[in-house]
């Protein structure tokens, strides 16, 4: 079946602009995660949605970052007033029930802030 999809695959933006990154999880998966992969920091957790529960936002690096998940499916990660240090690959993952379930990763969105 279809895996996790993310769009766009690449995004180049200018410092100070806002960007939106989209994630379509595997159909039927109730949990959705965002991670960031960058050279200096490795793979970092950003945010976690599980069903209708309040999201775990503990990994968001600043208040410029926000995410929402509409209808328990598609998620959008928004970065406002982008900075050069935001340049990274943003990965989305989903799992069937959350918790310890295996997470399936998408291909990522490579964000470059000039």
């Amino acid at each position: 079946g279809a895996g996790v999809s993310q769009s766009p695959s690449n995004k180049v933006t200018e410092k100070g602009k806002d960007v939106e990154l989209r994630c379509d999880p595997i159909s039927g998966h109730t949990a959705l995660y965002w991670y960031r992969q960058s050279l200096g920091q490795g793979l970092e957790f950003l945010i976690y949605f599980q069903g209708n529960s309040a999201p775990d936002k503990s990994g968001l690096p600043s208040d410029r970052f926000s995410a929402e998940r509409t209808g328990g499916s598609v998620s959008t990660l928004t970065i406002q007033r982008t900075q050069q240090e935001d340049s990274a690959v943003y990965l989305c993952a989903s799992s069937l029930m959350g918790g310890s379930d295996t997470q399936y990763f998408g291909p990522g969105t490579r964000l470059t802030v000039l």
Binding site: V4, Y35, L43, T102, F105
Partner: protein, 115 residues
Amino acid sequence: AQSVSQHNHHVILSEAASLELGCNYSYGGTVNLFWYVQYPGQHLQLLLKYFSGDPLVKGIKGFEAEFIKSKFSFNLRKPSVQWSDTAEYFCAVNAIHNQGGKLIFGQGTELSVKP
């Protein structure tokens, strides 16, 4: 805060050599442990995982890992590597009781296998 440490940043082996990649974590409670692999140009994918039971876990493509609770370790092994194992390998931990599903990843180990 929990952390995961992978000892080797870059490992270079010849085909048929044995592989062991180290992974240590810091967390005193119950954990689930994972190894993910990222082949060049591909998504992160699960190699194997440990939840409970037999501490020796077998995964895909001949990989295995051993959970040693007393050492907080979860080292990845393969008896004989192939050129197609060239990839980046990530160890990850999920601390069950207070972390929901979030994974804490190690820095990754890049494996290069020479044909």
